[in-house]
């Protein structure tokens, strides 16, 4: 051994700080003679010389950090016998392993997750050498977004650099915050859990004589439908596989704001008069803009209305957010050609989309709910 490299002095330590040299260049040392004290994350330890010899060079001074497997001491190479005795000692290319030889190779190792006993056929791993993986980590590039160009679909270092450049040109990743972040998490959760089915239909509102408040009519229709099909006004517990049918209708109303999607809740909506309801909704909108809605008014709903028609769109597949089991979406009111008693007429219609969680609600219940809502909506007032 001509170069003595810093071994791993603990269990997986990456580096050590030189505390004090006990020898200087040119000194003769004996095997096992203490030559340096170093401080690791775990301990202050004395390191002995691995061999007899003369010190040619010390790598670093007190206070310097030496990485594990980097040179620590160089010995004057005056004889070869010392080296030949070190067959167990780590080879010149050693990586600082404490348990013996660490094979070095350019062979690509593709890792894949596997369970004990499984055949482990699925290969989710991305093929890249450790140095390429390290480069990707340094450049903050996710291996999964890289299209590999190397042999056997290997990701090369130029692949990493190419993608890093693209990402730099596009700009920094914007980490979602606040309401938008809450939306992302809530929707991911809902998508992973709910078994959604969406039914579409239209309510013919040609009979509406005077101008009506569509939102209020939609709410009234939902309350009426909940009375007839209470299974949709419920909370589902996926852990216990159970449901709670709720007597009162606590209506969540999806509201689009510049900050993101809010779902404020109007408790016991069935007990509130139309005029009070409109007042409350207006107040809610102002409060949302000021971000002054109290937290308890943003939770506890039993069913949801998403009246997106004011913005645009016709049908949708609204997302049911657990523990609720149903959401009604309403698109833009539009005049349509419809067949009435065998005659073609033009009537105004509201396109409706009802999504329900099929774990808690049957298709029949949902269809009857939608029919009940349409029946109420189609009343003149």
């Amino acid at each position: 051994m001509r170069i003595f490299k810093l071994p791993d002095l603990g269990e997986g330590l990456q580096e050590a700080e030189i505390a004090e040299w006990y020898v200087k260049e040119g000194d003769q040392v004996k095997e096992d003679q203490v030559i340096v004290a170093v401080e690791t994350a775990k301990a202050l330890v004395d390191i002995p010389s691995p061999q007899d010899g003369t010190i040619a060079k010390l790598f670093g001074e007190s206070g310097d950090i030496i990485q594990t497997a980097d040179p620590l001491v160089e010995f004057v190479s005056d004889d070869t016998s010392a080296a030949s005795e070190q067959s167990k000692a780590l080879p010149p290319t050693d990586q600082g392993s404490v348990v013996g030889e660490m094979p070095v190779s350019n062979t690509v190792v593709s890792e894949r997750a596997q369970s004990v006993g499984g055949t482990g056929k699925s290969s989710s791993g991305h093929k890249a050498t450790p140095s390429v993986r390290a480069l990707a980590r340094r450049m903050d590039v996710d291996l999964s977004v890289i299209t590999p160009t190397g042999p056997n679909n290997t990701i090369t270092s130029s692949d990493v650099e190419r993608v890093a450049k693209i990402l730099t040109d596009v700009g920094k990743l914007e980490i979602l915050k606040g309401v938008r972040r809450a939306m992302a998490i809530t929707m991911t959760h809902a998508h992973a859990e709910v078994v959604p089915v969406t039914i579409n239909d239209d309510a013919d509102i040609e009979s509406w004589h005077q101008l009506q408040d569509t939102t209020i009519r939609l709410i009234r229709a939902m309350v009426s439908a909940c009375k007839q099909e209470p299974e949709l006004n419920a909370w589902y517990d996926s852990h216990s596989i159970g449901r709670r049918l709720i007597k009162q209708v606590h209506l969540g109303i999806a509201v689009d704001t510049k900050d993101g999607l809010f779902v404020p809740v109007i408790k016991e909506v069935e007990t509130i008069s139309f005029s009070d309801l409109r007042k409350q909704i207006d107040q809610l909108k102002v409060a949302l803009e000021n971000r002054s809605v109290p937290p308890e008014q943003l939770r506890g709903h039993t069913i949801t209305l998403s009246n997106f028609g004011g913005i645009g769109g016709r049908y949708a597949n609204p997302v049911v957010v657990p523990p609720t089991v149903a959401i009604l979406g309403a698109g833009s009111i539009r005049p349509e050609a419809v067949a009435i008693d065998g005659e073609l007429k033009v009537h105004r219609r509201i396109p409706l989309s009802l999504t329900f969680d099929h774990r808690a609600v049957t298709g029949g219940e949902a269809c009857r709910f939608l029919a009940a809502a349409i029946k109420d909506l189609e009343l003149p007032e």
Partner: protein
């Protein structure tokens, strides 16, 4: 005043820390040949120990647990046990293992990550080093049960540390050994430290030995730095168990003069001055004083023993360093007689990958 101050756990010491003999009730105090042999194995253990640390510090060995200052317990035990008795050691018991013929090169292989180190040439029925704390107390009970069932005149010996006496395994093992009257001896090497936890924070009991009382197991304390007292008490306990006297427990009081392992720095939790003060109780120097003062040996012969130990260590290190490393699939080969299906497929995979690396 403690609740159980009147338990009266006997404590033995013959050779005090000045190397002076207090009682002569033991025949072994005048047996020069045996005492020199004790000294020799303690010395071999200590020289081996220092070299193993140096090997770790220069990247040639994995993490290593030093036995510095606790050599007397193992040496005495090695002499008290018969060759066909069985030992369940922990990871600091090189003195007893060397006494029982286990080779230094094997111990180095073990700490170098090579399972062949536990495939002893001698004392082949001794258990491998047990790193988990106190789990081997239950193994020892099982083996002692087998000895009793087969009506063999053999004794099972299990060594644990002070920390192990806080484990459930230990209490369970004691209970079973007591109720079944098994030929098993529990030796507690109470070196005062369970990694960084000192003895007084380990257990409220005045002695660790008295934990045996609840299992109706006879227990004593002994000065673990006095090799003569250790041998005398161990010999008596083991022979009693061999002749159907049932289990016993011996708490040997020592001190861990070293770090817990090479991955530890004891200065972070105990002062160097406290450790320095403990060196006066060192088991090797007190026996050396006794041997010299009674002219059982002279300084020249002691020097020769030192050189002999160094030479042996050097040769054993060479054997270790020249042992070819095992292929990666060897990691599967020492746990099961027949490898389970799931591990077999993993082994095959490792072999395929290993070939690619060649």
């Amino acid at each position: 005043m403690g609740v159980y101050d009147n338990l009266n756990i006997p404590y033995s010491q013959y050779l005090d820390h000045h190397g002076q003999l207090h009682e002569t009730c033991s025949d072994y105090t005048s047996d020069a040949k045996n005492l020199i042999n004790f000294y020799k194995i303690m010395l071999r253990t200590r020289v081996f120990d220092q070299k193993a640390i140096n090997l770790q510090r220069t990247g040639k060995l994995g993490t290593y647990a030093s036995s510095l200052g606790q050599e007397a317990i193992g040496v005495a035990l090695g002499a008290a046990m018969h060759a066909n008795d069985v030992l369940a050691p922990t990871y600091r018991d090189y003195a007893v293992q060397l006494s029982r013929g286990i080779k230094m090169s094997d111990l180095l292989l073990y700490w170098g990550g090579d399972e062949r180190g536990m495939d002893y040439e001698f004392s082949r029925e001794d258990l491998p080093i047990c790193v988990p704390i106190a789990t081997h107390t239950c193994h020892a009970v099982g083996i002692a049960y087998a000895m009793k069932l087969r009506k063999q005149p053999r004794v099972m010996v299990c060594i644990i540390g002070d920390g192990a006496t806080s484990k459930g395994d230990f209490y369970e093992a004691l209970n079973a050994a007591g109720v079944w009257q098994l030929p098993v001896i529990f030796i507690i090497n109470n070196n005062q430290w369970a990694i960084s936890l000192p003895r007084d924070k380990q257990s409220a009991t005045k002695t660790l030995a008295q934990k045996a009382v609840a299992a109706e197991i006879y227990a004593e304390q002994v000065d673990g730095n006095d090799v003569i007292a250790c041998y005398e008490r161990m010999h008596e306990f083991i022979e009693r168990a061999r002749t159907g006297g049932g289990p016993c427990l011996l708490e040997a009081i020592s001190y861990r003069l070293s770090d817990h392992t090479t991955a530890d720095d004891a200065q972070r939790y105990r002062s160097p001055a406290d450790v320095e003060a403990q060196w006066q109780f060192d088991p090797i120097s007190r026996l050396k004083t006794y041997l010299l003062e009674n002219q059982f040996i002279d300084a020249e012969a002691l020097d020769a023993l030192q050189k002999q130990a160094e030479q042996e260590v050097e040769e054993q290190v060479k054997i270790y360093l020249n042992t070819a490393t095992q292929p990666p699939e060897a990691m599967f080969d020492y746990l099961y007689e027949t490898l389970p299906e799931a591990l077999q497929s993993q082994r095959d995979e490792v072999m395929r990958k290993g070939k690619k690396h060649e």
